[in-house]
Each structure stands twice: as structure tokens, then as C-alpha cells.
């Protein structure tokens, strides 16, 4: 029996994944649980285990190709079965009976290697950079339609000078029910992506002067999420200055201890602790807004997202149950997440379930930024560079370790005074770090 493996739902709101690396090739033996493919989704890069033991017959997607959840990516001949040359398609194309039963049974889809697509569809495929060999046709006798091609690019609009095909709007090939894993998240084909597409260039630019980079995977998800957040949440940003002198001294001391335990202690565990403590003081900030139901969902668990830059783009791994871990535990978890982000080893859980996010520009610093809320959360804290600045204490100008905090709120949920109170609370904890440990 040949078996197909369909790209599973690897995370909430994940509609598609980019095949970044095949760990097996056609003809290879494959064992159950063997990691066989690396898939990058908008949230995470994961390696997937095989549910079958047998021989790899066919890889249905190329490296770099974006596959929708629910679409088959590999065909395996299960153990004990001779490898068959052609995979049995699991989704039969709709066949329209043209003849009474006397003629041969409905023609099978085009054999592998033969691409059934009209010249117009072939042109469209080139324009949106889809390899037709990897597209399953849903048209008559397996013919690849415009819609199939557009579905293969996740409904992205064709670039430069292409007239989108007339007729019904491109729909994903997979029924919506299969995709809607997260009810509040929206299908990828919504207009949110449109502003990113460049208008058709009127005058062609000589080759080499411009580069076109497909927006997909993490990049596209960032684009969508940021746009969604900006379009949905009523952002306002509150800025405060924090005197970090005490914390700097404390960290210097604890750093040595941490090193002995084999952990690198940054400021982030302290900040997370301060944030958790402040969230407990102001519970409505640890929340999300369910736009559909019109309800604020206040959370009694504290999963803190840490915005992290990677080569592929910004991701937000989550420190789960940040209130239940001590300082060193937080440090270790942050270290693990950072390492996993760098090496694409994050698990779906690592990027899910955040209740509040922190974005730190670290030493790069700048003075201020206005963070965009990690929607549907309702607030995000921006942490900036710590530096020595002259400040007035007891009518004396003295040098202290100072830092700005910038915190963006969704005003639909958080009013100004509540947001301010939260930031003042964070400031209080950071300026008097002993409080953090009293509270705990």
C-alpha cells in the first residue's frame, strides 16, 4: 500500500509550511518516527516524524516550496509492499461522466511528469513562481487551473502586470474547515497581504537593478500579523524612564552565581519577573480581545513572549508559566529558546500560547521605539538600552544606570491610566528588585 503523508496542522493558525529541507530522498527507506522533512511555518521550523515504515516513493514538494496544511507532501510504499512507480492519488479529481458506461472508465489524471495546464495557466505559474510539477490539478482529468496555481502560492496575488483571472476569487484548494484551526485567525488570502504586493512596474528596470524576493513563510506571516495588529488594535504608547542602578548591581552579583550553575544571566529574567508581578497587579493586561465575541479574555497563566530576531525574520518564542519558575529557571529557558530559534529547533509549543510580549532591542538600543502589539494580546513592553545618565537625586546631579521602557497598549481594552499604572508597577519592581523576591 502506498501512503501519503499530508502536511499536518503544526501549530495554531498555521495554514501552510515551507519545505525547507528534505531529510530523505526518493527511494530511501524510511522508518516510523524517523524525522524526514524540515518545515518552516510562519511561527516555527520543525522536523516532522514519519508515521510509516517503508520506502520513499515520491517527494511531492520541492525544497523552498510552500505547501498548505492538508496537502500531501510525501508518498511512502509501506513495508512489505513493492515500490510502485506511480503514487495513488488520494484526492481523486472530480470526473465528469461524459459517456454511458460503455467507454473506458474515467481517464486517470495525467501521468507523473506530464503537466496538464493551458498556456495561460503555465504563464501564470511562471509569474507567481509555482512549479507546476508540484501542483495537483483539480480541473477536468487533472488539469491544473488558475485557481490551483494561486492556491499553491497561498492565494498570493500575481506580481507585475498580471491580470488576475476572471471569475470566482481564488480559493484555497483545501476546504476552509481544514484550515481554520484558529477561529480568530483569518485565511491567508485576505486583503491584508495586498498592500505588500508592489504595483506593476510601468517601466521595466534593466535586469540586475532590482531583486524580487517572494514574501512567504515567516516574512509573510510577520507582514500579515503586523498589518492585522495595526489595523485592529487602537495602539497608544506610554514611555517611562527606569533607574536600573540597583538591578545592575544585583545582576552583577547574581551573574557570578549563575555562571557557576552554568547559566548566563541577562537582564531579561529580571524584566520577565517584574512584568509578571506587574501583570498580577493589573490582570487586564494579561489578556486578549476576542473580536468576534466582543469579549476580553483575561488569563490567569503567564506566558511571556520574547520577540527574537532570526535570519528568517522576527519570531516570538514563549516562556511558558513564567510565574512558576525561579530566576535561574527563566534564564535557562530563555537560553534554550534563543538557541532553538537560531537552529530552527523550536517546537510548535515554543511559539504558542503567549499572553504578553516583551521586545528588547538590547544593546542596539536607540532611545525609543513604538512596539506593535502581538495581536490578539493587548499590550507589549519595549525594553531599551541601559546607560549611565546624569539624574537629579536629592538635588544633586548624579550618574545612574538609566533605561527607557516603552509600552504599547490596545486602547480598546486598556485605558491610559491603567496602562500607566502597569508601567509604573514594572518600574517599581525594576528599581527595587528586592520586591520581586518578596512577592515570590
Amino acid at each position: 500500500m502506498t501512503k501519503e503523508f499530508k502536511l499536518p496542522d503544526i501549530g495554531e493558525g498555521v495554514h501552510e509550511g515551507e519545505i525547507t529541507k528534505w531529510l530523505v530522498k526518493e527511494g530511501d527507506p524510511i522508518k516510523e518516527e524517523q524525522l524526514f522533512v524540515e518545515v518552516m511555518t510562519d511561527k516555527v521550523t520543525v522536523q516532522l516524524p514519519s508515521p510509516f515504515t517503508g520506502t520513499v516513493l515520491k517527494l511531492l514538494a520541492k525544497e523552498g516550496e510552500v505547501v498548505r496544511v492538508g496537502n500531501a507532501i510525501i508518498v511512502v510504499a509501506e513495508e512489505g509492499e513493492a515500490a510502485q512507480p506511480a503514487p495513488a492519488p488520494s484526492i481523486e479529481p472530480p470526473v465528469i461522466a461524459k459517456e454511458p458506461a460503455s467507454v473506458a472508465p474515467a481517464a486517470p489524471p495525467a501521468p507523473p511528469g506530464e503537466i496538464l495546464a493551458t498556456p495561460g495557466v503555465r504563464k501564470l505559474a511562471r509569474e507567481v513562481k509555482v512549479d507546476l510539477a508540484t501542483v495537483r490539478g483539480t480541473g477536468p482529468r487533472g488539469r491544473i487551473t488558475d485557481e490551483d496555481v494561486l492556491a499553491a502560492v497561498g492565494g498570493a496575488k500575481p506580481v507585475s502586470g498580471v491580470t488576475p483571472p476572471a471569475g470566482p476569487a481564488a480559493e484555497p484548494a483545501v476546504p476552509a474547515a481544514k484550515l481554520a484551526v484558529e477561529p480568530i485567525s483569518e485565511p491567508a488570502a485576505k486583503p491584508a497581504t495586498e498592500p505588500i504586493a508592489e504595483p506593476a512596474a510601468k517601466r521595466a528596470v534593466p535586469p540586475g537593478l532590482e531583486e524580487r524576493i517572494a514574501v512567504h513563510g515567516i516574512r509573510r506571516r510577520i507582514a500579515e500579523k503586523m498589518q492585522k495588529s495595526k489595523n485592529t488594535a487602537a495602539h497608544f504608547t506610554y514611555v517611562e524612564e527606569v533607574d536600573m542602578t540597583n538591578l545592575v548591581h544585583l545582576r552583577e552579583k547574581l551573574k557570578v552565581k549563575a555562571e557557576k550553575k552554568g547559566t548566563k544571566l541577562t537582564y531579561l529574567p529580571f524584566i520577565i519577573r517584574a512584568v509578571v508581578a506587574a501583570l498580577k497587579d493589573h490582570p487586564t493586561l494579561n489578556a486578549s480581545l476576542d473580536d468576534e465575541k466582543g469579549e476580553v479574555v483575561v488569563k490567569r497563566y503567564y506566558n511571556i513572549g520574547i520577540a527574537t530576531a532570526t535570519d528568517a525574520g522576527l519570531i516570538v518564542p514563549v516562556v511558558h508559566d513564567a510565574d512558576k519558575t525561579d530566576l535561574y529557571g527563566l534564564a535557562r529557558e530563555i537560553e534554550r529558546l534563543a538557541e532553538a530559534s537560531r537552529t530552527n529547533k523550536l517546537t510548535p509549543r515554543d511559539v504558542q500560547g503567549g499572553t504578553f510580549s516583551i521586545t528588547s532591542l538590547g544593546a542596539l538600543g536607540g532611545i525609543l521605539a513604538t512596539p506593535i502589539i502581538n495581536w490578539p494580546e493587548v499590550a507589549i513592553l519595549g525594553v531599551h538600552r541601559i546607560e549611565k545618565r546624569p539624574v537629579v537625586r536629592n538635588d544633586q546631579v548624579v550618574v545612574h544606570e538609566m533605561m527607557y521602557l516603552t509600552c504599547s497598549f490596545d486602547h480598546r481594552v486598556i485605558d491610559g491610566h491603567i496602562g500607566a499604572a502597569f508601567v509604573e508597577s514594572v518600574k517599581e519592581y525594576l528599581e527595587h528588585p528586592a520586591l520581586l523576591f518578596v512577592e515570590a
Binding site: 496538464l116 513562481k129 482529468r141 502586470g161
Partner: protein
């Protein structure tokens, strides 16, 4: 001061001028260079167009002569060859002007001169003397992208060098204002047979000598046989598996020694038309200065986007090799221009139709039966003779057939061969069918108006499915 352009197109044939127009439409500053002061290249000036102009006239004459059975009676049918040649020139002139206007309307600049690469981005254009005006000055052109569309030229043979008087190429043959008594055609390919048929209809005694075992090499033997039979009816002597050896003068005529399977023959002729193939026009172009590579025969190699080994230099049409077809050059020109303008175009057609203007005409697209079988298809063929068709009978053109080659499993149409009246016009329907991935059902179920020649295609599709109405189905 060198002229700077986005795109330089060298050669204004059916590939080059089309490429230039498309490039200009896409906003590229485009310069079109041709060594001739006539746009349109070989096709328009010395090939397809003049040959069809003459062939259609010959067909008219031939048809009238054969129309006695239909009651058409007359005496004194005479062809004024001088007037016919004037007519040919007027047709070409109109099209020349049309192309020039199209280029201007689209903003394509034109320069008449011989192009030669200086380096990969610079081309020197040596002004070509105008037939009725001053020679344009030479210029140097710097171009971001260059399309080489210089075409090809008829080849001669070492023992039959063109003297352009008695040993001639198709170009001179088309300009003959006197029909030769005896014409020897060396090479039974498309050009040789088209022109041989033309002269035979105009009254020449024509002999065709073909080296291979059939005329129209590469065409299905069944098709070649039918064409040969008709040539013989026109009084054309056809020697296949035969070779011209040498010639000798005999007064104003030549005596040509030919080796045939029946032995050595001496054939007298007033003119010898050498149509044995074409070579690429790369001489003087100095492709080496641009680093553009060509194959052993001098044809420039390109990829599916028509790029040569030098990424900003494209080549299209005849200069890239067989098959030498104007419509192929045009499509390649569009691909190259679009790629030059940053579009992801590619030569990805499934079907390249051909049209041969013999009598009857031959047109093909896709695979013939043998090639389909060789490609691993389980094949069924539906064949319908034009004799079964009301329209063909009414027009007195019953010669030939339509053959539809179908894949049994998918019922898709793999190829079509048409021999018969207006075959060249009939084939496009099936080119569309193949590009669309149509099945024989799609064609059979489409209503074709009655009484017309395309009904034969519908019927052949039905025959492939074993359910033709007007012929007995093969079991």
C-alpha cells in the same frame, strides 16, 4: 558618442521586429538594426510571403485549368510573369511599410546597417548603403540587453555553388520573371517542393533530387507518399535516395549528373534550384567578441528563456537552429523581449505547428503516430479522408486526410497531421487543442459548422474514439 539603449535587436525578421515591438511595449528603449533597408527579414522579403504570393497565383491558374469538369471553359489562359512579379513586389512593399509603421508607433528606433559586436555590451553598426538614398553613418550602440535575431541563409553545395543566374537559391527563384523550361531542384525538403510545385504549375518541367529515401524528410511516410504522388501528377520527376554529382554547361543550359537507384542519369535544366538547408547568419557579427557560444554548425545555443551563455544576450529564430519557422521565431522574440523586461516568460509551448504549401498542403502539430508510440503512449488514430467530406467534394479538393493521434488512456490529443485543402489554415484549431490539453471528446463534442473543411477534424476525433459518423469505424 555611442547611442545608449535598453535593448538592441539585431535583425528585423519575424523574430526581431516582433521582439522589438514587444520590448518597446514593455517600456524598454529599443533599437532595431537590420542590414537590409527592408524590414521583415528573409520571411517577408525572400521567403514565406513572396513564395505564398506566387504559390497562390499558381494554385489559381492550376485550379482554373482543372475546372473543365465543373464546366469552367475558356481559351487563352496566360500568366503575365512581369505583372506577377510586380504583384509580388507590391505585396512585400505593403508589408514592409506596415512593419515600419508598427515599429514607429510603438517607439522602436530603427537603424539600417551591419551589426558587429565590439564587446558584450557594445555593438558597432556599419551603415548599409540605401538603395535610393545616402548611406546612414556608422554608429556604436551600447545596450543593456541584446537580442540576436540574424536568421539564416540558404546553403549551397561544394559542387553546386550559387552563381545566382543558373544555380540559384530560393531568393532568385522567387524573383524569376521567366518560367524556366526545365528546372532541377536539389533537395526535396519544404522549400524545394513548394517552389518545385509552383514552377510545375506555371509550366516548367521539374525534377526533384532528394538524398534521403523520401521527400519532406521527417514527415510521416504516408504524408510524403501522398505529396509525391501528386507531384508526379503535376509532371514532376522525383528521384529519392539520389545524389547530384556534377554539372556541365551545354549552351545556355546545364547538364547535371545524378546518381539514382536506377543508375546514373544526365538531366538537362535551365535553372538549378539548390534547397539543401540553411546556415546561420553569424558571419561578421563577431559573436566571439561578446563571448557568445555557437555549436559546430554555427547555430547559437539558447535556454528556454532564449538566453545565450551570456546572460544579457539572447538569440531567437533561425540563428538558434532548426526548425526554421517564422512563427517560432516570432514567439521566441516575444519570450526574449519579455524576459529582457523582467518578466518570467519562457518557451514552454507543447505544440509547434508546421505548414507546408505543397499541393496538397501539409500541416502538422504535435506527435505523429510513430513518435507517439516511441514516446510510450498507447495510441489510437482517427483518420478521415477529405473525400468523405461534402465541402471537399464541392470544391473539387478531395485529396488528403486528417489524422488525429490520441492517447488511449487519457484520450488526450497528442498530435494531428493534415494533408489536404487548406491544411495550413486547419491546423491551428488542433494547436489550441494540444496546448489546452483537450481530449478527443472535447473536439468531437464541439460543433463544427457544415459544410466546412474543419468537419474533418471533428470527424477524425470521433474516429479516434471509435464513433465516427461519416466513415466506417475501425474495430
Amino acid at each position: 558618442m555611442a547611442r545608449e539603449v535598453d535593448l538592441l535587436v539585431i535583425g528585423a525578421g519575424p523574430g526581431g521586429y516582433v521582439a522589438a515591438i514587444r520590448a518597446a511595449q514593455l517600456g524598454l528603449k529599443t533599437l532595431l538594426v537590420d542590414k537590409d533597408h527592408r524590414l521583415g527579414g528573409e520571411c517577408l522579403n525572400y521567403g514565406c510571403i513572396p513564395s505564398k504570393t506566387l504559390i497562390f497565383t499558381a494554385n489559381l491558374v492550376h485550379k482554373m485549368r482543372g475546372a473543365g469538369e465543373m464546366g469552367v471553359e475558356f481559351t487563352g489562359l496566360h500568366v503575365n510573369m512581369i505583372k506577377l512579379q510586380q504583384w509580388r513586389v507590391s505585396v512585400i512593399d505593403r508589408l514592409n511599410r506596415g512593419i515600419e509603421q508598427l515599429c514607429k508607433a510603438n517607439g522602436v528606433d530603427i537603424l539600417y546597417g551591419m551589426a558587429s559586436f565590439v564587446d558584450p555590451h557594445r555593438v558597432r553598426v556599419e551603415g548599409a548603403p540605401a538603395p535610393d538614398g545616402p548611406t546612414p553613418p556608422s554608429e556604436e550602440v551600447v545596450a543593456g540587453t541584446i537580442i540576436v535575431a540574424t536568421g539564416s541563409t540558404p546553403m549551397d553545395l561544394p559542387s553546386f555553388r550559387f552563381d545566382r543566374e543558373t544555380i540559384i537559391s530560393s531568393k532568385e527563384a522567387l524573383e524569376l520573371a521567366a518560367v524556366p523550361w526545365d528546372l532541377l531542384v536539389i533537395g526535396g525538403g519544404v522549400t524545394g517542393l513548394e517552389l518545385g510545385t509552383y514552377f510545375a504549375k506555371m509550366g516548367s518541367h521539374v525534377t526533384v533530387v532528394e538524398l534521403l529515401e523520401q521527400v519532406l524528410p521527417g514527415t510521416e511516410p504516408e504524408v510524403a507518399r501522398l505529396v509525391t504522388r501528386n507531384l508526379k501528377r503535376l509532371g514532376v520527376e522525383v528521384h529519392v535516395s539520389s545524389k547530384v554529382l556534377s554539372w556541365a554547361e551545354k549552351g545556355a543550359r546545364l547538364v547535371i549528373a545524378v546518381e539514382t537507384p536506377e543508375g546514373r542519369k544526365e538531366i538537362e535544366a535551365d535553372k538549378v534550384l539548390v534547397s539543401v538547408g540553411r546556415r546561420p547568419n553569424t558571419e561578421g557579427l563577431n559573436l566571439a567578441a561578446a563571448g557568445v557560444e555557437a555549436d559546430a554548425k554555427g547555430f547559437v545555443r539558447v535556454d528556454a528563456q532564449m538566453r545565450t551563455n551570456v546572460p544579457h544576450i539572447f538569440a531567437i529564430g533561425d540563428v538558434t537552429g532548426q526548425p526554421f519557422l517564422a512563427h517560432k521565431a516570432s514567439k521566441e522574440g516575444i519570450v526574449a523581449a519579455e524576459v529582457a523586461a523582467g518578466q518570467p516568460s519562457a518557451a514552454d509551448w507543447k505544440a509547434l505547428p508546421t505548414a507546408i504549401f505543397t499541393d496538397p498542403e501539409v500541416a502538422t502539430v504535435g506527435l505523429d503516430e510513430a513518435k507517439a508510440v516511441a514516446a510510450g503512449h498507447d495510441v489510437r488514430v482517427g483518420k478521415v479522408p477529405f473525400a468523405a467530406l461534402g465541402r471537399a467534394l464541392a470544391a473539387g479538393e478531395t485529396e488528403g486526410f486528417v489524422k488525429v493521434v490520441m492517447d488511449v488512456k487519457s484520450e488526450r490529443i497528442l498530435g494531428v497531421q493534415i494533408v489536404g485543402p487548406d491544411a495550413s489554415d486547419l491546423i491551428s484549431e488542433m494547436a489550441v487543442a494540444i496546448e489546452m490539453g483537450a481530449t478527443a471528446h472535447d473536439i468531437a463534442l464541439t460543433i463544427h459548422p457544415h459544410p466546412t473543411l474543419p468537419e474533418a477534424i471533428m470527424e477524425a476525433a470521433e474516429a479516434a474514439l471509435g464513433k465516427a459518423i461519416h466513415i466506417v469505424n475501425r474495430k
